[in-house]
């Protein structure tokens, strides 16, 4: 296990955190979906690399599921649904972008401190990967909490699940990861479809013009 392999694992985990921050920054729906696809792609790369480093071939399957299902199928499906149902495509924040990003940094700091203090005896590099995974989970929750748009909440939930997958693969020896991944993805698919059918039907009953944003040139 050379240092370069660990560095690449860290780099991929850090890129996942970076992708979560990019999702936090987006305020347009299509861009959010694209960044989510990137997020899932980076997850696939990270899981694939862990499969190579740990010599655990079943993780290749998890990586493939992440790539096909989460990076390609779900974003394309959401894209189509949004276009067909004509949902308004701007995401409103509860608090401003600056404060949201600062809260994100605070959450990353918190997860680093928690992970590195709670597990003093464990393998140093696995701890840092776990810290990154916890950051991704917390950032996913932050996306869900600070966005007023149903689709962005779904995306936040999915990115949270990506973080859990990262944690599971980082800690060695979890043989059911493949099955859990498949189950989770099916569950998410049903949640996505369910949320859409119910929420959007409500929205369609009301006057959709009001849901369109007013001209947001001057916010003050």
């Amino acid at each position: 296990m050379s240092s370069l392999q660990f560095d690449i694992a860290h780099l991929l985990a850090g890129s996942l955190v970076l992708a979560s921050f990019m999702m936090l920054y987006q305020d347009r729906l299509y861009a959010l979906l694209n960044v989510y696809a990137l997020h899932a792609g980076v997850l696939a790369l990270s899981v694939g690399w862990q499969a190579y480093v740990q010599q655990a071939p079943h993780l290749y399957i998890t990586a493939l599921i992440a790539l096909v299902f989460k990076a390609i199928i779900i974003p394309v499906a959401l894209h189509r649904i949004i276009k067909r149902l004509g949902i308004h495509r701007e995401i409103e924040n509860v608090i401003g972008i600056g404060l949201t990003m600062m809260a994100g940094i605070g959450l990353v700091a918190l997860s680093m401190v928690v992970m590195l203090r709670v597990t003093p005896g464990a393998d140093a590099l696995a701890r840092e990967d776990l810290a990154f995974a916890l950051s991704v989970v917390l950032l996913g929750l932050l996306i869900m909490v600070t966005r007023r748009n149903a689709v962005s909440q779904v995306v936040g939930f999915m990115s949270l699940e990506n973080g859990l997958v990262l944690a599971a693969t980082g800690a060695k020896g979890m043989p059911l990861v493949v099955e859990i991944s498949v189950a989770f993805s099916v569950l998410i698919a049903f949640i996505v479809i369910g949320i859409f059918l119910f929420r959007i039907r409500e929205r369609f009953d009301s006057v959709d013009v009001q849901a369109l944003d007013r001209f947001r040139g001057e916010r003050r």
Binding site: L99, R219, R220
Partner: protein
Amino acid sequence: MIAVALWSVAALLALAPAGVVLSTRPRGSIILYGGCLVATSTLCVTALSDLLFFPHLAPSATLPIGLPWLGAHFRLDALSAFFLVVVNLGGAAASLFALGYSRHEDSPGRVLPFYPAYLAAMNVVVLANDAFSFLVAWEFMSLTSWAMAVSHHRDPENVRAGYVYILMASFGTLALLLAFGLLASGAGYDFDAIRASHPSAALTGTVVILVLLGAGSKAGLVPLHAWLPLAHPAAPSHVSALMSGVMTKVAVYGFVRIVFDLVPEPVWWWSMVVLLVGGPTATLGVLYALMQRDIKRVLAYSTIENIGIIFTGLGLALAFKAEGLDWVAALAFTAAMLHVFNHALFKSLLFFGAGAVLGATGERDMEKLGGLIHRMPKTAFAMLVGCVAISALPPFNGFVSEWLTFQAILLSPQLPSWGLKLVIPAVGGLLALAAAFAAACFVKLYGISFLGRPRSDVAASAHETDRFSLTAMFALAAFCLIAGILPGLFIDALAPVSKDMVGNIMPHQVGLQWLTIVPIAESRSSYNGLLVFLFAALCGTAAATAIHRLASDRLRRAPAWDCGYPDADPAIQYSASSFSQPIRRVFGSVIFGAREIGEMPPPSSPLPARLQVELHDLIWDGLYAPIAKAIGFATDRINILQFLSIRRYLTLVFVALVVLLLVVAL
């Protein structure tokens, strides 16, 4: 040495009552300020020679005044010598400035008696070696500066400023009184006895918090800063310079003396508190400064920012000292002390410039000034030096102390505490933000007041100030440049101070090649102000000569680009609030609740459009106003006691007597 110092202080105290008489004479203020200049210069030279040549001597003296069993103890160790240099350099510059500026003073009788007393009080605070003299001198300092702040008493704003000031000053003194009381509980009031005592950790923790409240409110730490932007501008300009440039440093002296010297080994969480207060102070101070249009208020808020930077350096020094990394503590401490010196220099210079502008135009509001670089060229040049220095730009001195603070932050990963590991990068980010905002603030100050076209008649007809003011300003500007180019000299002069306070010193700077400064080791980082300045000067002159010889040196004048609308009114220029509008929109909406309300009339209406900007001081609304309301409520209730009948008063006396008897019985 200390005898000379004490005699000079006595001379200043003697000038104070003389000021009452001199204020009625025609040239009396010249004589008074001249006398102050001589006394402060003597003190400055004495202290400087003590710091440079006999730093470890620490002579002390005891005078039989004050409390009968205590007397008044004075001591001139390295820390006191350094702060005496800062106080008296500022005092001498202010006295020199006042020689010329005092002709603008309408009622000298309200200022002249208090000025030498103020200088004397600040010197005694720095020299004091026992808690009683310290506190008496501290309170005297507050009172004399309050008297001068309300000297223009016809303006109701000044009266309110004085009221808030005296309130906060009393609060500060109360906190310090409690702190000294706790420290003296084991040992008595004498500082030497306090140094030798061993108080418990809980006691020292409480003392540090109280000192932070007491000295911090005088220095201007957020949220105890509210009096500073009201009181500092209200005073006459040379007194404002002393209050901002020097009195805040005396407050820093009080903090350093108690927390680094009187109290034994520090604990890590003290530094956490100091850092958590210092970092936001720096950023909030300069953000407030960006929203102001009164020149002196901008400078007062900028003082708050610089105090935040100084306390951040002190917090870092405490953190390193608590961990035993005293060589890094020396770096952080020296950076803070160097910033104390630098800030005294350029803040005094900026206030002198503001005073010159006020004297020449009668205006403090930037939105009525403009174009002063043509009418007051020498003042404008000195103010430019001050603005560049305070924005921490090379080759001036502000950059050196900021650079040293950043180097100390870069060494912080060695600290083991997790809390500090998270707080220090955040504070570093806040400091970097504060530096960038400071540059923006002073571009605005200089650009709106001195550049452009005059926005009012008084600005168009201003005249240059007198020689004394100009000499004071240019002397300070020269010091700013020298401290920026030859910082090694100043760092080495501070070595005995850092040795006394944190136990170690920075590497010896003067012997290094080409007068570079090296904070830790040459392989790690170094900075050479002199060479950077020379290179830049060389490149600039080479470019100028080459272009003028080889290309063209012709020049002609023409009207400015007016987009087809000739003879534009000066009012189309950017004003102070329009210059800060982008920053106000980005940061102000959160921190000040800034709102812009625009009213546009319909297209064919001749009515004017209106733009209204609303800012809320959230700290005032959230902290001071509720406390004031609560006190008002409580006192309204208690006020009933004023209007009781005789029978009720007798009842009170009777009940008190019965209670006391019960206490005695049980």
